[in-house]
Structures are given as structure tokens and as C-alpha cells.
């Protein structure tokens, strides 16, 4: 029997580069939601994967293995498959296919996001390791600062086309101002 072909959420839509901003699709690896069970120990995440369970608005870990706060009492472990030891401490749900993950970077990235997100993204306010559940254009999503001028954006997979379109429009508008 033929095996099923996997397709990424933004296949054929990115990368896009306009002016001083570039957008690419990020392969996040495995995304697992972690919600601490009653009596569970959030420290289990550190023991298993090396990063702390993030506080609200924060992301821990580093590229390839990050824990990103994703809502009340919830974080996404992004990158590695979750260690079996976590099961005793967290309600875990596979979210790997539910999200389109986009990397926006470049010196114009903040100006582009200023057209999409009602977030204070000044470098000393939204620091590396800060994250927010917020609006991205018309969509609810997640924005995480992952570098000096780079951000990871997450939106529902089904909205990937709208997301890429709206981000591209903002990129063009910012670039046109010169």
C-alpha cells in the first residue's frame, strides 16, 4: 500500500522576502501541549528536557527544544517528542499538526508586526524569551521573540494562507515606505 504523503501547512506559500523582512515556514518538530495535572510536578519538564516550565508570557529553552507559554496553565513543548516521564505530571496533547509556524526576521520585522499585532514589541519590553497569545491580523495566534530581530508566529493550520497573505501585505507596506 502507498504510504501517505506529509504536507506542511505553508507548503508553496513561503519563503517570502520583502525589503528588510523575511518570512519562512518553520518546521517545529513535535508540538505537545503540557497542562500540569493536579499534584503533578512542573519540575519534571526540566528533568526531562532541560528547560523550566515557562511562566505566563515567557518561553524557555532554546532553538530546537523550547517550551512556550500558550495559555492559562498550559505550555507547548516544541521540538522534541515528549519524554514518557512527563505523562505523570502533565496532561499532554499532540499539537504538531494543528499549527502553522512562521519565522519572521529582519530589521523591519518589528515594523511588520506593528501592522498585525497590538503588542509592545520594543526590544527592551518584548525581550528574547518573551511570548504572547495575541492577534496576528485577523487571527488569534502566538508570537515569540526568538532572536534579536526574529520572531516565531503560530496560527491555526487552516488559516496558514490568510496568515501568509496578511503578513506579506504588511511586509510590502513597510518596505514601500523605505
Amino acid at each position: 500500500m502507498a504510504s501517505l504523503i506529509a504536507k506542511s501547512p505553508c507548503a508553496g506559500m513561503a519563503p517570502i522576502s520583502v525589503g528588510d523582512a523575511a518570512l519562512r515556514e518553520v518546521d517545529p518538530g513535535v508540538i505537545t501541549s503540557l497542562s500540569p495535572l493536579a499534584g503533578g510536578d512542573v519540575g519534571a519538564l526540566k528533568a526531562a528536557h532541560g528547560m523550566a516550565f515557562p511562566a505566563p508570557g515567557r518561553a524557555s529553552g532554546k532553538a530546537g527544544a523550547r517550551a512556550v507559554w500558550s495559555g492559562r496553565g498550559q505550555a507547548f513543548l516544541i521540538g522534541p517528542a515528549p519524554d514518557a516521564a512527563l505523562k505523570a505530571h502533565f496532561a499532554m496533547t499532540d499539537q504538531s499538526d494543528g499549527w502553522a509556524v512562521l519565522g519572521l526576521e529582519g530589521t523591519a520585522a518589528r515594523e511588520v508586526l506593528a501592522r498585525l499585532c497590538p503588542l509592545d514589541l520594543r526590544p527592551d519590553r518584548f525581550k528574547r524569551g518573551h511570548t504572547a497569545r495575541t492577534l496576528i491580523g485577523h487571527m488569534t495566534g502566538s508570537v515569540t521573540r526568538v532572536g534579536a530581530d526574529s520572531f516565531d508566529l503560530m496560527v491555526f493550520r487552516s488559516m496558514a494562507q490568510t496568515a501568509v497573505h496578511e503578513i506579506e501585505e504588511a511586509m510590502k507596506s513597510v518596505a514601500a515606505r523605505g
Binding site: 501541549s33 496533547t93 494543528g98 491580523g137
Partner: protein, 976 residues
């Protein structure tokens, strides 16, 4: 007339644009108004009501008269202030509210009828007969009165919304604003300096003042250079701060591409939402006119604007200029013009004790009591103690004093206070929390005073945000007095205009008072003073001074109307930027979307999702043909349908079962692992909220399915219940709608199909009806549910979404080999109607569980949300409309949803209404239309005949009432 050597325009860069088709030459740095004035054009518009010829009065956003239309077709923009529109090569400008032309306007006949058009005229005259209003009077009035018109075509221009954040927002870049920005910037604060002009500097560009011994504009450029170099100060030109809103949020409109011949990919405008900790309002002041007879001739202008056009644009607004004022600032106009070689016909000061010196005729204790010249001023009458003199003049510069631009301070309903010495309203502290008005906006009118006030305002703001100010030297500048003696109205026979934009005269305001519209807010509405684009910027204080006089009260007792956002008109295109067409909402696509589109399936919208309506095959000419085939395919072979859009919620935790017992009417704690159960969910008010199936994957792990459209609502409801109603339960919720691509495989050959697709085959014993579990699907770990929305032997198979398209293609090819294929929403709907399954067409927010025949699903063994409310008298009384099936038995065989039901012989009128039809479809299985609907006491009426009447579409049909389950009521097929 241009004056050599004057102005800040770039004479090396000439440009041409058109005004009503005629060529106009200007220079880089000109506005439309300055270029027109330079070539001697005084007539720039026709007034709102009387079509009076009007000329430009001001040089800013407060301009009441010189409103023009730019562009053409879809790119046409009406009511553009010629004083704000920068001239550029190729710009097309047209006058408005005139027909056939600005110069010869037939509707100026209205002016002759002016005795009839006084305040309240429409209310008194066009009241009766009432039905004439909408069809006759209103269109007639709208045609005769008005300003610019929209093109009627969709606006194709680009607009944008954006957000900005800072510590200190400085509004206005005149002397006070520049010093505030400098002080805050040097202290290291994040500053945004916003100014609505294309060039920063405020009045320093319009006056001949020196700052620290340098020409004003030179000093401005030095300050701007320093600000720009700081890195922590953002300069936003062409940006009007339009509103002060809650918690330090300000609206601002930036003109981005409106001054360019080819804006490229730039937006025309950007609507900013600026969030700041503190704001310094340095918006300056607006000069106010004096109401004297016939004061609206083209050529009558504000004194500050006349000298502004000279100093900023090198334009003399007239050849023989007269100046009329009640304060010292007016004198500067005469001085500046005289110094530039323009003849001053007269300087008229209403104050008898005014000290005036100048080499031109001076009249003190005098007033202008009349003007001449219909399309352009030719002369004025000056009345002194000794009599009336005629003075030849083509431009009259007037100044009735200055009103601080305090509009933003009033946006949260604060009231300014009257200052007797300045004869003006001044802001009081904290009218808008975190905002302080400084400089002229706070009644400090000298340049030196404004510079110092800017520093003070910034220091206060810095202190408030915990930043230490650094010392700033205040530059030397003029510190003249502002001696003013109030003069609002000069009496005379002719009309004296207060509100030029709305054609409101002194007489109108007096009439309002006489007719007891004596409150300032009533007067405003009765006369329309202060409405429309300029929002009373020119006329407000003058009008209420007249009202105060007419009602025998003082100005402070009379009070002022409320300034509300926006400060300047904001185009809806900017506020709604990005929401045009498909930008209105995100589009959600399933993983099978591309394949469905390739199969020519028309898409319908279900919430934000796009779902295939049907899959046409060759030879099928109508959707019904395709739908009938797809239904038959499912009943006889196998059909595939993408059901990924249904909401899926992962529910975990040791108390998950208890939680489900609480949110569903029926019991879920008794559900075995590996089984699925249908559930019904009520709102707190006892009305049905949603239904769906929930699968138990483990003791502490469930997956709930919701309907497509209620997915978000149910998720929010569950979150609310978990957080607010049962916070002690250990339950964890997350949506997995997007994680799984899920397909219904329905029909007698569904098992055969899946047997070929599942790696381990499909063991009938292991997969009875309502079983669920994991399954390896073509090498991918997936999930399988034996559930059915068609009444057939059916399954839903799910894989992670990345494999969705692959699995869809595989299932379709397998199905087609078995004589089946894809089916769409139309067939899905017919299949479920045949089975009497409900959707939100039935559970539409007004029906109870009992109404849909599921009263017994409210478990008596436990409590659930909505249970108590569902037992309320009105929700359980007899006589409620209950779900029934309908089948046509008369001559007419068509059923229509939305139609109403009546007893067979009763008249089809409201009082006889027995119910309504919610869903219909043609059943190829039973070769008849079938309907679902609600009928009074319907369950007891099976076998009765009722009359369906669709009053809208004019269709009537006799129906037999029956059980809603038409097909396979025993359910043998689904278990097969």
C-alpha cells in the same frame, strides 16, 4: 502673488496640478491652497446650504471653506481640505457642491431664499405630510445641500492600521512640542512626536519670529536634527492625533501616500493606535473670526493665516490687505506684510486704546461693518466714532483672538473652564488622565512662554514615569503680550456668519435661543453649528458667546459643547483597513480543499471554513443531479466526506468524566473506554447549545466533537465551566480541531474500503457500532470511530493533518473503485434529514431538549448545566412546538425551509401559526421531498395533515406530519 525671497517652498522644484481642469503652478512645499492663493484664486468652494462663494480662511486642518475633491473614479476623495493637501505634479483637484461650475452655481439661488432657510427651517417646513419626508423632501434637500460626494465605486486604495508604543507622546511640533520632545528625548525616554503638518515647526514656520537669534525655521531644523539623531524619538509628520481614549491609548491618522503622485505600495493612510504612559498636548491654538456683516466673502481670512501664507509659502493673499482685530497679534500681520512690500489698506483695531504704529492707515476703536464683492472681496466699510469709510481692499485679515486647541482634553468628557483674561476656554489638569496641555493649547500664547511650557510639561511627564530630567536651556524668543478685548459680533443688517462650514449665522443662533433651544447642546443641533468635518473649530466659542448674550447668561454659565473624537475626519477606509473583501475574516481551509477544488466542487462557507457543496460528474447539469447521485452512492456503496471542520476538544484529567457529566445532559462517566456516546449540551438557561459525540480514549481522556459552527462557542463554554463553575476539578482542555484531518467513510461498503486502507484490516468483532480507538492508517498512526451521521454503516477515520490530503486522495480512489466517491454538504444534509438528525437549523437557540424529542436525555441521576432552568414552567408546558417530520401529500410536492405551518383549513395568518419548517431536502431514497420542522404539540399529531405556507416565495403545500426519522427507523443499517 508670490513674494520673492519669502517662504519655505523649494523654488527650484516647480510642479503643476489642475483645479477644475485648469492648470495651476506651484512649488514643492506648497499646499493646494497656497498655490491657488499664489496665482490669485480666491474662490475655492461653495457653502453648504446657500452655495455662497467661499475662499480659503485658514492654513490648517480647521479650514471650513476650502474643501475640495481629489482624484477621480474609485480613487476619488471628497472633502479634502485644500490647506492640508500637499500639491504634487499631476494632482487633480475639483471644487465641490457647485453646479454647473464653481464660478456659476445655479444652486446659489438658495442664497436668495435664505430668509426661508434659517435654523429649524427643515423641521418646521417639511414635517407634514410625514410620508413625503423620505421620498421627496430628504432627497431634494440632500441634492441642494452638502459637501463632496463619494464616487459610488468600491475604494481600491490601500489603507493600513498599525500600533505604536512609547513612554511620552508629544502632540504637536510647534515651539512647545519641540521643546517637550527635546527634554523628554534627552532624558532617554521613548518619545513619539506627532504633528499633522507635512513639516514640523508649527507657528514657527508661519511667523517671522527669531529663536535664539536665528530665524524660526532654522532653529526648528536644528532641533529636528538633534531629535532624529537620538534614536529614542520617533518623528511622525502628517499625523493627526484624532482621539484620546482609555488607558493612554491615542488614535492617530497618518497621511502616507496622499501627497505623492505615485504612492506605489504605500498605504494612502495609516490609522495608528498609539499607547503611551504620558502625553503632552502641544496642539497650539486656533484663531477665531469676528461675526460682522457679510464676513464670508472670498478674501476674508484669518490674520494668522494671512501672515502664515506669507512667511511659510511666500504668498501675499491680496494686493491691498486690510487687517481687523481685537488683539495685538493681528498687528503682526500688518507688520509682516508691510515689511514684505505688500500694501496695507488699513489696520482696524476694535480697541480704542490699542497702541499701533505702522506706516499705513490705522483705525482704533473701529469696526468693519460691511464688505463688497461677491466672488472676491473688493472693499470694506469701516465704522469709527466719526462715521463710515469705504476702504478698497481685496483681502481682509481678521482676528477675534485665539482658542486653545484643547479638543483632545475633552475626549473623556472633561469640561474646560472659561478664562476671563484670555476670553477662552482652558483645559484643567487631568481631564484625560496622563495628558497635560502645554503652551498655546493651555493658553500660553507667547513664543517664550510656549518654549518654557514645553520643557515643564516634559519634565512632569518624565517625573511621572520615573525618569530623571536632564537640564535643558530655554532659548530666547519673543515674549509679547496678548492684550485682547472681546469682540464677537458687529451689528448690521446683513448676515454675519459664525459657522462657515454649516452656513450658520448670528441670527440663527439668536433664533434658536428665542425658540427656547437655549442650552448650548440644543442650539448646536437646532442650527447645525459645530457639526460636520470641522466640528466647530472655527465657530464654537463665537457661537456660544452669541448664545450667552441672547439668553442673558455669561459664557461660563452657557458652557461649551462636548468635543468628541475624532479631532479631524478619519476615513472609514483607514479605520477598517485590511477588512475589505476577503480581508474581512480569515479563511479556513481543510486539507482536502485543493483536491475538492480540483474536482470542481463549488465551495460553501460554514463559519470561516470552506466546504464542498457537491462533486459534479460529467453529464450532471444541476446540483440536484449530483446530490441525488451522492446520496444514492452512500446508501448503496460508499461515500467519503471531509468532516475535519467539526470541533474536536481533547479533555483530560482524573475528573474529566465528572466534568462531562456536568456539561452534558446525559451520563458520560458510565461510558466504557473504547466507546463513543452521543451527547446533548444545554446552556445555563436550559436551551440546547450543541450536540455531538464524545469518545473515551482512556479513563481520564476523552475527545469531544462539536458542530462546525459552535466549535468556538463550546470551547469557550467549557473553559468558563472549568475555570468558574467547577474550578476544583482536575480537567484539562485543548482544541485539536486543527490537529486531525477526519473523514467520514459511510455506506454498506465502508468496512470493505477501510479493510483495505487500515494496515491491520478491520475486524468486525472489534469495531461494533459506537466503538473507537487507534488504528494504523496507511502507515500513519490514526484514530477510528464507528459513528454515523447518515444512518449507514459508517466510520470516521482521522490522521494528523499533514497526512490529510494524502488520506483524502487514497480514500477517494478506493471509494471510486467500489462504485462510490466523495460527497458534499448537500448530500450530507439530505442523508441526515432522511434520518431525522438535527443540526443548528433545528437547535437554533430557542429549543429545549424536549422540543427536539430528547427530553429523556436529561439524566435524572445527576445535575447538569441547564437542568434547573429547563424545568421552568414555560419550557416544559404543553403547547410548545415539537420536532416533527413533514412529507408533502398534496398536489404541490415542494417543501421550503422557513415556511410556516397552519392547520389544513385555517387561514394562513399570524394568529393561526402552528409552527415552521427548519430543514428540507429531496430524498432520492424515498423519492419525495422531506422536511423537518417544529409544530405545536407535534409529537401527538403524527398522521395529521397541515398546510405549509411560504408567504415570501408564494408556495403552499399540504403535508403529512410524521416521525422525524424517515429512513430505517429501527437503525438496522447503522449496526450492520
Amino acid at each position: 502673488m508670490r513674494i520673492d525671497g519669502k517662504g519655505l517652498i523649494n523654488r527650484a522644484a516647480p510642479l503643476r496640478f489642475t483645479f477644475d481642469g485648469a492648470g495651476v503652478t506651484g512649488f514643492e512645499g506648497d499646499t493646494v491652497a497656497s498655490a491657488l492663493l499664489a496665482q490669485g484664486t480666491k474662490l475655492m468652494g461653495r457653502s453648504f446650504k446657500y452655495h455662497r462663494p467661499r475662499g480659503v480662511m485658514t492654513m490648517g486642518s480647521e479650514e471650513p471653506n476650502a474643501l475640495v475633491t481629489t482624484g477621480r473614479g474609485a480613487g476619488q476623495t471628497p472633502n479634502v481640505r485644500a490647506t492640508m493637501q500637499e500639491a504634487f505634479e499631476g494632482l487633480e483637484v475639483r471644487a465641490q457642491n457647485a453646479w454647473p461650475s464653481l464660478d456659476f452655481d445655479l444652486l446659489a439661488a438658495n442664497d436668495l431664499l435664505s430668509p426661508f432657510f434659517s435654523a429649524g427651517f427643515y423641521y418646521k417646513t417639511f414635517m407634514w405630510p410625514a410620508k413625503f419626508w423620505e421620498k421627496l423632501y430628504e432627497p431634494m434637500i440632500r441634492r441642494a445641500a452638502g459637501l463632496g460626494a463619494l464616487s459610488g465605486e468600491p475604494d481600491t486604495g490601500l489603507y493600513e492600521k498599525a500600533f505604536a508604543f512609547c513612554d511620552i507622546l508629544v502632540i504637536g511640533a510647534g515651539p512647545a512640542g519641540l521643546m517637550a520632545a527635546l527634554t523628554a528625548g534627552r532624558a532617554g525616554a521613548d518619545v513619539i512626536l506627532a504633528d499633522e503638518d507635512a513639516r514640523m515647526g508649527g507657528r514657527l514656520l508661519a511667523e517671522s519670529h527669531e529663536i535664539d537669534g536665528k530665524p524660526g525655521p532654522v532653529w526648528v531644523d536644528e532641533v529636528l536634527d538633534e531629535l532624529e539623531a537620538m534614536g529614542n524619538v520617533r518623528l511622525m509628520t502628517r499625523t493627526s492625533v484624532t482621539g484620546a481614549h482609555d488607558d493612554g491609548t491615542y488614535g492617530a491618522l497618518e497621511r502616507v501616500g496622499l501627497h505623492m503622485a505615485d504612492p506605489g505600495a504605500r498605504p494612502l493612510e495609516t490609522f495608528w493606535r498609539i499607547h503611551t504612559k504620558r502625553a503632552v498636548l502641544a496642539a497650539g491654538a486656533l484663531e477665531r473670526p469676528i461675526a460682522f456683516p457679510d464676513n464670508d466673502r472670498p478674501g476674508v481670512m484669518m490674520a494668522g493665516a494671512v501672515r502664515g501664507y506669507l512667511n511659510r509659502f511666500g504668498v501675499a493673499a491680496g494686493q491691498r490687505v486690510a487687517v481687523f482685530g481685537n488683539n495685538d497679534s493681528a498687528h503682526r500681520t500688518a507688520q509682516d506684510l508691510a515689511a514684505a512690500g505688500v500694501e496695507i489698506a488699513a489696520l482696524i483695531d476694535s480697541r480704542a486704546d490699542a497702541k499701533v504704529c505702522g506706516d499705513y492707515p490705522v483705525y482704533t476703536g473701529a469696526q468693519v461693518t460691511g464688505t463688497k464683492g461677491r466672488k472676491g472681496l473688493t472693499g470694506i466699510s469701516v465704522t469709527t466714532a466719526t462715521g463710515v469709510q469705504q476702504v478698497e481692499s481685496d483681502c481682509l485679515a481678521i482676528s477675534g483672538g485665539w482658542n486653545p486647541t484643547l479638543n483632545l482634553t475633552c475626549h473623556m468628557n472633561g469640561r474646560p473652564v472659561w478664562n476671563e483674561a484670555l476670553q477662552a476656554f482652558l483645559p484643567v489638569p487631568d481631564m484625560v488622565p496622563g495628558l497635560e496641555a502645554v503652551g498655546a493649547a493651555n493658553g500660553v500664547f507667547s513664543t517664550a512662554g510656549a518654549l518654557a511650557a514645553g520643557v515643564d510639561g516634559a519634565k512632569n511627564a518624565l517625573q511621572a514615569i520615573g525618569k530623571k530630567p536632564v537640564s535643558v536651556d530655554i532659548p530666547k524668543a519673543e515674549d509679547g503680550t496678548y492684550a485682547l478685548s472681546p469682540l464677537w459680533v458687529v451689528d448690521g443688517k446683513s448676515r454675519a456668519w459664525l459657522d462657515f462650514q454649516n452656513d450658520v449665522t448670528v441670527k440663527d443662533v439668536k433664533l434658536a435661543a428665542a425658540e427656547n433651544y437655549a442650552s448650548v447642546e440644543h442650539m448646536k443641533r437646532y442650527t447645525t453649528q459645530g457639526m460636520a468635518p470641522d466640528q466647530g473649530k472655527n465657530s464654537n466659542v463665537n457661537a456660544l458667546a452669541v448664545l450667552a448674550d441672547a439668553t442673558g447668561r455669561g459664557i461660563p454659565e452657557t458652557g461649551t459643547t462636548t468635543f468628541r473624537p475624532p479631532f479631524v475626519p478619519v476615513s472609514l477606509a483607514a479605520i477598517g483597513a485590511g477588512a475589505r473583501g476577503k480581508g474581512f475574516a480569515p479563511e479556513r481551509f481543510t486539507t482536502s480543499h485543493a483536491a475538492s477544488v480540483a474536482a470542481h466542487a463549488p465551495m460553501i462557507e460554514a463559519g470561516l471554513w470552506y466546504r464542498p457543496s457537491f462533486f459534479p460528474r460529467e453529464g450532471e447539469k444541476t446540483w440536484r443531479a449530483s446530490c441525488d447521485r451522492e446520496v444514492a452512492m452512500v446508501r448503496n456503496a460508499v461515500g467519503i466526506c471531509d468532516v475535519s471542520t467539526l470541533g474536536k476538544i481533547d479533555i483530560q484529567g482524573k475528573d474529566a468524566a465528572q466534568f462531562l457529566d456536568f456539561v452534558y445532559t446525559n451520563m458520560f462517566s458510565s461510558l466504557k473506554v473504547g466507546r463513543v456516546r452521543y451527547g446533548l449540551m444545554l446552556r445555563e438557561d436550559g436551551i440546547v447549545m450543541d450536540d455531538g459525540t464524545t469518545a473515551r480514549l482512556a479513563d481520564d481522556h476523552f475527545v469531544m466533537t462539536t458542530t462546525t459552527v459552535a466549535a468556538g462557542q463550546v470551547m469557550a463554554h467549557l473553559e468558563f465551566v472549568a475555570q468558574a463553575l467547577v474550578p476544583d476539578l482536575d480537567v484539562h482542555l485543548i482544541s485539536t480541531t486543527e490537529q486531525w484531518a477526519q473523514f467520514a467513510v459511510a455506506g454498506p461498503k465502508s468496512r470493505e474500503l477501510l479493510n483495505a486502507v487500515l494496515d491491520d484490516g478491520l475486524d468486525p468483532e472489534a469495531w461494533p457500532f459506537m466503538a473507537c480507538g487507534t488504528a494504523s492508517v496507511a502507515g500513519v498512526e490514526g484514530r477510528l470511530f464507528r459513528i454515523s451521521f447518515s444512518g449507514e454503516h459508517a466510520y470516521e477515520v482521522a490522521v494528523p493533518a499533514r497526512y490529510g490530503e494524502g488520506l483524502w486522495r487514497l480514500l477517494i480512489s478506493q471509494a471510486e473503485a467500489l462504485g462510490g466517491g466523495a460527497y458534499g454538504m448537500e448530500a450530507l444534509n439530505v442523508l441526515r434529514i432522511e434520518k431525522g438528525f438535527i443540526t443548528h437549523a433545528e437547535i437554533h437557540g430557542r429549543v429545549t431538549a424536549d422540543d427536539v424529542g430528547m427530553g429523556r436525555m436529561i439524566s435524572v441521576k445527576k445535575d447538569c448545566i441547564g437542568k434547573a432552568a429547563a424545568s421552568r414552567e414555560g419550557l416544559s408546558a404543553s403547547g410548545r412546538e415539537q420536532l416533527v417530520g413533514l412529507r408533502p401529500v398534496g398536489a404541490v410536492k415542494q417543501l421550503l425551509s422557513g415556511a410556516h405551518l397552519f392547520n389544513e383549513t385555517a387561514e394562513a395568518v399570524r394568529v393561526n401559526d402552528q409552527g415552521y419548517v427548519t430543514s428540507v431536502g429531496f430524498s432520492p431514497t424515498m423519492d419525495t421531498f422531506l422536511g423537518l420542522g417544529f409544530l405545536k404539540n407535534g409529537r401527538a399529531r403524527h398522521g395529521e395533515r397541515v398546510r405549509m405556507v411560504d408567504h415570501l416565495r408564494g408556495v403552499e403545500a399540504i403535508c403529512e406530519v410524521c416521525d422525524p426519522v424517515f429512513f430505517d427507523p429501527e437503525g438496522g443499517r447503522v449496526r450492520g
